[in-house]
Symmetry: C2
Subunit: 173 residues, 2 copies
């Protein structure tokens, strides 16, 4: 599957098989997560990862409604931002560094045939505060996105065309 197909065939996957994800694939996914651009290359992203069902369940509960996919996932990655490390600090680029990292994680998973769903966390304070408490994080470390991974029960993939001409403004708005 080439790069374009990897991007266009990504979809949210919420039902996972029992098959474990190999350590090699986890390393590849994380390497991809660290390969995006970051503002002034300050790389404010951090990753809490787990394959343990008990911890996946706790993350799911902390992240609130619609986070059930994590309970059936084989891997959970909580992307966090260290606001002390990001360009322009608390109100600066850390959110963007983390979003790029998270998108790379799910695209790399898709390239490997692994499904994922991105469960929103930041900027919802109830969610990121609960996760901050769960992992006893210092105040400079903010949980940003909660990602669930596993081999999809339905492994069919299709190249989707989500282009909308109304969103493209040529030379002017």
């Amino acid at each position: 599957m080439n790069g374009i197909e990897t991007i266009l065939s990504r979809k949210s996957v919420r039902e996972f098989s029992d098959r474990d994800i190999s350590n090699e694939d986890i390393k590849t996914i994380l390497t991809a997560g660290m390969s995006g651009p970051a503002a002034l290359n300050m790389r404010s992203f951090e990753f809490i990862i787990t394959q343990k069902p008990s911890i996946l369940e706790k993350i799911s509960e902390a992240n609130g409604p619609y986070s059930g996919a994590l309970k059936k996932a084989k891997l959970g990655i909580l992307v966090c931002g260290d606001i002390d490390k990001g360009y322009l600090g608390k109100d600066g680029y850390w959110v963007i560094d983390c979003a790029i990292a998270a998108q790379n994680l799910i695209l790399a998973a898709n390239a490997l045939g692994i499904g994922s769903v991105w469960l929103g966390t930041y900027p919802e304070k109830a969610k990121y505060s609960a996760l901050q408490k769960l992992f006893s994080l210092k105040s400079n470390v903010i949980p940003f996105a909660t990602l669930a991974f596993g081999y999809p029960l339905d492994s069919t993939r299709e190249i989707r065309d989500l282009y909308e001409v109304e969103k493209v403004h040529i030379d002017k708005w």
Copy 2:
């Protein structure tokens, strides 16, 4: 080039050749930009695109220092967020929708052998206000990221390993 290689070989490119980017490739890049997940699928991203040197120069000037690569680019894409369309509005997920879109744009370009550099815009008010003014945007449309594209003068690509073990926290911080 497969999906993993596409992600790991991405780098910022600031020097472009004279070769134009085809309309077909521009369409593919934009389709990729619209293929990421978006919070509640609300797809708050919008794209202003130009191949005109005079407009590229104006965008470069509005986006301030370090935006010179745009002046030599063959394509500029200004990713904007419509805060009225994004989940949770002004302080909600639109920034994340746009960051995912922008990362997909540059990865798709890399998959096609096209180089790019992501020039930071939001959350720097001086930059996004100047761009908002340049394109006479309504207050709900916020310029988010300024991307310059072109065929690289140096077309060598390498798979980079930017993995940092210190950024991976297993089961706990």
